[in-house]
């Protein structure tokens, strides 16, 4: 019998059998049981000309220690946030991750399980998802939450499409103060189906006399399916969601809020403000930043939309002996049953990140969640007060209350300033020039984020370094 892979049989060569379990003898016996002489017989369904005659052109295999050496070297080319002081936010945050989260979430029984389609063997994951749904409902004060979406951006897009289908209206109104990336993803999704995106221009600058919601009514009408806003918004501002909700409801549209879950330790939940759909980014609930992925989109809505929402959901029920148990339910909305008429095409979601969020929220609990939220608020305000006292620093939205992020206008180009900050081991704020290119109010502005992981010492170092950078003309 010709060998399966020629080199597999070479004595002493073990590298290329990584993760395979069959021995040479096994394979011989298996071919016999199948009744064929050679493995190549199994390739007969593949037309001869399509069978690869040579090995793929891939880099050489590495043994485990060599592989880790290689990976550590690659990782070493990155500046990681554990090795510097970061003031970057804008959707992904370095909130503290208690050790229990990774320890429990990483258990193989969770990590290497499939979607719990067979409930009798998946009660652990199903119960965890049920607890996750409950926790998201608790944070948002909504009636029901699904088992997760890919990220906040796709959650925003799915929520808009859901509103479009419920109301059979084709316009989506979004405030420009929503994260630019989320708006871009929303636009990609809407473009694909020919629906319209209407953007309400940003306001609230020192020179402005009105705010977004005051101009909102000129953008919404009976074609509006939904009004989308973010709390806190992209600039960290705490907005008055009630205004948006009322404006949406006046024309019969749905109100969709994209929220920062950490802020909900303090802020009024959207469910108390009659918001119809709530989405958000759950990365900061115990998940690593991971260069922006995988992320965790959470999605909650009012009960009356129970037949329209996207994604999986777990329900409690009983087994034949009357024991409480959990199973995926409302399955007829999903793609494997309803196919092209499904409420969404989503299948694989972010279950393991939802599990981390569940563990995180239990570990923090009522007191801890309020404390993390409050600490972020306090430290951000301390940083804001200290920074705005500097020469060459100006608040962009001086009138607005904010949570843990704030925009500042600097007297020097942000790129240059950030380069100098990095030399001092500080990852500066986000350069907003690239996001709002045509808005003069946002030229030379930077978005700072301060979470509970920053110490007073960190903030003081930022302030003193920035003072030096801005004060020194030769930078």
């Amino acid at each position: 019998m010709p060998p399966l892979t020629r080199s597999l049989q070479k004595k002493g060569v073990t590298k290329n059998v990584t993760y395979l379990s069959n021995t040479v003898e096994d394979r011989t016996e298996m071919l016999e049981a199948i009744g064929i002489a050679s493995f190549d017989n199994l390739l007969e369904p593949i037309p001869e000309n399509l069978r690869l005659k040579t090995l793929l052109n891939l880099p050489p295999a590495l043994d485990e220690s060599g592989l880790l050496r290689h990976l550590n070297k690659m990782a070493g080319r990155n500046v990681n946030l554990e090795a510097c002081i970061s003031f970057l936010g804008a959707g992904v945050y370095d909130h503290f991750r208690p050790a229990v989260v990774a320890a429990l979430q990483g258990r193989g029984e969770f990590a290497t399980s499939y979607t719990p389609y067979q409930p009798e063997m998946s009660q652990g994951m199903l119960q965890a998802i049920y607890e996750y749904q409950t926790l998201i409902c608790t944070l948002t004060w909504m009636d029901l939450a699904n088992a997760s979406m890919y990220d906040a951006a796709t959650g925003v897009a799915e929520a808009a499409l859901m509103a479009i289908h419920i109301l059979d209206r084709h316009d989506v109104v979004v405030t420009e103060a929503m994260h630019p990336h989320y708006r871009q993803v929303l636009k990609t999704y809407l473009d694909a189906t020919g629906f319209n995106m209407v953007t309400v221009p940003l306001s609230g600058f020192a020179s402005d006399t009105s705010s977004e919601f005051e101009s909102l009514s000129t953008y919404i009408n009976d074609r509006t399916a939904c009004v989308l806003f973010q709390q806190p918004d992209f600039f960290g501002r705490v907005i008055d969601q009630k205004e948006y909700v009322e404006a949406a409801h006046r024309v019969g549209a749905l109100a969709i809020s994209c929220v920062d879950p950490i802020s909900l330790g303090l802020l009024k939940p959207p469910g108390e403000l009659d918001v119809d759909i709530v989405v958000g980014e759950g990365q900061s609930l115990g998940n690593p930043m991971g260069f922006g992925g995988p992320l965790l989109g959470f999605f909650a809505c009012k009960k009356k939309f129970v037949r329209h929402f996207p994604g999986r959901i777990v329900g409690a029920t009983v087994d034949e002996s009357g024991n409480r148990g959990y199973t995926m339910t409302l399955r007829t909305r999903e793609q494997d049953i309803r196919r092209e008429k499904a409420t969404s095409n989503i299948c694989t979601n972010q279950a393991l990140l939802a599990l981390a969020a569940t563990i995180y929220l239990c570990e923090l609990g009522k007191a801890g969640m309020t404390q993390v939220s409050d600490l972020s608020l306090q430290k951000a305000h301390y940083a804001y007060r200290e920074l705005t006292a500097l020469e060459g620093v100006e608040a962009v939205f001086p009138q607005s209350p904010f949570f843990k992020e704030f925009a500042l206008k600097l007297s020097k180009p942000v790129v240059e300033v950030n380069r100098e900050l990095l030399k001092a081991g500080i990852l500066g704020g986000l350069n907003l020039d690239t996001y709002y290119e045509n808005n003069v109010n946002l030229a030379n502005t930077t978005l700072f984020c301060v979470t509970e992981t920053r110490t007073r010492e960190d903030i003081d170092l930022l302030v003193s370094t920035l003072k030096k950078v801005l004060g020194n003309a030769s930078v």
């Binding site: 037949r307 399955r331 007829t332 049953i337 309803r338 008429k341």
Partner: protein
């Protein structure tokens, strides 16, 4: 074998029809409910809606299947069976009685001739007609 009463007419999409004057009462057949399994949700049309022959008028769902409902006749919806409510098992238990779905006022009674009688429907269903 499923129950197929002689006094009713049937569509190839597994709805039954009972006519009284110009009013047709419509439901799904015993065969259809058997195929679906436990019915958990019904979506029925609004009163006053005009349905064309073979137009989709609603949906019936079991835990793991969705089936669209098609109007066997043209007419205006005058009543739907709101008494079913959440007790959708009535459709499984009594598809020709308390499990009826809607009543329509016929606008083209001649379409009746295109429907199957009990014997033809029985044969159609046995052949695995879908």
């Amino acid at each position: 074998m499923a129950n197929v009463p002689d006094n009713l007419k049937y569509s190839k999409t597994h709805e039954w029809v009972s006519i009284e004057g110009e009013i047709a009462t419509i439901g799904i057949t015993d065969h259809a409910q058997e195929e679906m399994g436990d019915i958990v949700y019904l979506s029925l049309p609004d009163i006053g809606r005009t349905l064309a022959f073979d137009e989709q008028f609603g949906e019936v769902e079991s835990v793991k299947a969705v089936s669209e409902l098609f109007s066997p006749l043209t007419g205006e919806v005058i009543e739907t069976n709101t008494a079913i409510g959440n007790t959708t098992e009535i459709v499984n238990e009594d598809p020709y009685g308390n499990g009826w779905l809607m009543k329509i006022k016929l606008s083209n009674p001649s379409e009746m001739t295109d429907l199957l009688d009990a014997a033809s429907y029985t044969q159609f269903a046995e052949e695995g007609g879908h």
